[in-house]
């Protein structure tokens, strides 16, 4: 029997069709294009492109950058979420907005600001050069730009959840004599672990995939400061379309692994997640 809150079969079918059609055209097709282009000359050609020394150094650089940027943003995200969700203070909306800001700053601008700061014509550039410290056109600049772009990802994931959960449990624990750290580890962390993990996954995927901002500060030195997305561009511009899409596929695969992992978690721990969410 149909409940009054159910939509008619017709509406239902229509909406499902729109959903699948929209997602299919806007999301699935571009993704398939990447993979089919990579395999245009067979699997071997794609694998060869990944074994190229420049490709390997790009993969390494990307991993190093993510390995620095993600943990830093993790610490910050937890810290900021705790601050925003557990205390009331003036200017909270402003603070949240500032944390959100990098979401909407054009990647080009994100790179530009570090050039204005650390570039030879910038504020600190001449001093850095005299002391032989390299920031932009080297690893630190790439890391900084990546941190900037992925800055809100983990905090954004945690803030609404922790705000919803309130602070009663934590306050109870503290009243019962637990230290702050114990409270966080034993009470808060179990409640937020899924959101935290998901935030880390997204942050990591974005950190590895950032193009615009990194492009401005990288210097494009082959085998040294080219990350994977930049290497995609290099190959694409070198008439090596298969190679370009092969490296792009690796990045797309990373995205897919992220999404699969997330879906698996949701599926496997659906009850637990629902429980923490509706807390």
């Amino acid at each position: 029997m149909r409940r009054p809150t159910d939509d008619s079969i017709l509406t239902r079918g229509l909406l499902i069709a729109i959903t699948i059609g929209f997602i299919g055209i806007f999301l699935l097709l571009p993704l398939l294009t990447v993979f089919t282009s990579a395999l245009a000359n067979g699997l071997q050609a794609a694998l060869d492109a990944l074994r190229d020394p420049d490709a390997i150094s790009a993969i390494k650089l990307t991993l190093i950058v993510a390995a620095i940027a993600v943990p830093l943003n993790l610490v910050f995200g937890v810290c900021a979420a705790w601050l925003v969700s557990k205390y009331d203070f003036r200017g909270k909306s402003l603070l949240i907005s500032l944390i959100d800001l990098p979401f909407s700053v054009s990647p080009v601008v994100s790179g530009l600001i570090y050039v204005l700061m650390f570039g030879l014509q910038g504020w600190l550039g001449p001093w850095l050069r005299d002391h032989d410290i390299r920031i932009i056109f080297a690893l630190p600049g790439i890391v900084l730009a990546t941190i900037f772009v992925t800055f809100p990802f983990i905090a954004r994931e945690l803030i609404p959840l922790m705000t919803d959960q309130g602070r009663d449990e934590e306050e109870a624990a503290v009243t019962l004599g637990a230290s702050g750290l114990q409270t966080f580890l034993r009470v808060t962390l179990p409640n937020i672990k899924w959101a935290l993990l998901y935030g880390v996954l997204l942050c990591n995927a974005r950190a590895m995939g950032e193009f615009g901002a990194v492009s401005v500060v990288s210097g494009h030195i082959r085998g040294l400061t080219n990350t994977m997305p930049l290497h995609v561009e290099v190959l694409y511009n070198d008439y090596q379309y298969v190679g370009a899409f092969a490296v792009a596929s690796l990045l797309a695969l990373l995205a897919l692994v992220t999404l699969t992992f997330k879906s698996l978690l949701e599926w496997r721990y659906a009850d637990e997640i629902a429980a923490t969410h509706r807390h």
Partner: protein
């Protein structure tokens, strides 16, 4: 639910909670925020003023700059509206209905978050160029997408979609069926129920998600640049104009455009967050 006292505007920064760590977390958050975001952004904030006020105005009111800003903001607005409509349908379908492949569709929604923008751009232009899978059939109908402003909008729809869907999904899931049932029992048609009961309940989340999608799309570069025709006055987006200004060593002009875009994004996000906290306080 939430003990959010509405603080008087003149109340001092204070810590009303027994929980420890206010000083530590506030200190670290502010330090990290300043080091990574605020101080570097100050560099952008100060740069254009070497032009002076009139120079700044002149730099951003140049016809070509205005056209680019119009495209970036207009394109982002259209994409956000499209995403609002379809994002609502997608979110509703994913929460309320069961169908084969639902898990796959749900997972795919996050793709634009995770897929590198440059890869998305290359894939979109390959897809919509006149020899691409979709561009080919469409060009027979005399519809051109790649290398036109429509191409820009398509890329912006791509990157903005998850913001709307992911903001709406938990709200739809949390929405109790009681109000809907009551309305139905009182004789409202399904359409009336949706319009009078469901839509108002979803409105705040819809506004927030659309706003985020818009703010993100305004500054987008990597995925747009490959599919836009980049013709001045026609299909040239503002971030590209920043790059072009930089190429001419016009750091001030570049920073001026960047500043306008930054200010707009910030105002949108701040408005959304104020709107949220207002709703939370009223609840």
């Amino acid at each position: 639910m939430r003990s959010a006292a509405i603080s008087s505007p003149f109340a001092r920064l204070r810590n009303p909670s027994v929980l420890p760590g206010f000083g530590l977390t506030l200190g670290f958050t502010l330090f990290y925020l300043s080091a990574i975001v605020l101080i570097p952004l100050t560099a952008l904030l100060l740069k254009p003023w070497t032009l002076g006020w009139s120079g700044f105005i002149a730099a951003i009111t140049e016809p070509r700059v205005l056209a680019a800003l119009k495209l970036s903001f207009g394109g982002a607005a259209i994409a956000a509206v499209v995403n609002a409509v379809f994002g609502l349908i997608v979110a509703w379908t994913l929460v309320r209905y069961r169908f084969p492949g639902k898990r796959l569709v749900d997972a795919l929604v996050d793709l634009p978050f995770a897929l590198p923008t440059a890869v998305a751009g290359i894939a979109l232009s390959a897809l919509y160029a006149s020899n691409g899978w979709l561009g080919g059939p469409l060009s027979l109908l005399n519809i051109k997408i790649a290398f036109t402003p429509i191409g820009v909008i398509f890329a912006l729809i791509f990157i903005g979609l998850p913001f709307v869907v992911r903001t709406l999904q938990p709200v739809i899931a949390d929405m109790s069926a009681e109000a809907e049932e009551a309305a139905a029992t009182l004789g409202a048609t399904r359409f009336q129920t949706l319009r009078r009961v469901v839509l108002p309940a979803l409105a705040p989340a819809l506004v927030t998600g659309t706003g985020l999608a818009f703010a993100r799309a305004v500054g987008e570069y990597g995925s747009v640049i490959f599919i836009a025709g980049n013709l001045p006055m026609k299909s040239e987006i503002a971030p590209l104009l920043i790059i072009i200004k930089l190429q001419q060593y016009d750091y001030e002009g570049a920073a001026a455009i960047g500043l306008v875009m930054l200010a707009a994004s910030f105002v949108i996000i701040l408005a959304l967050n104020l709107f949220q906290s207002l709703l939370a306080a009223r609840r």
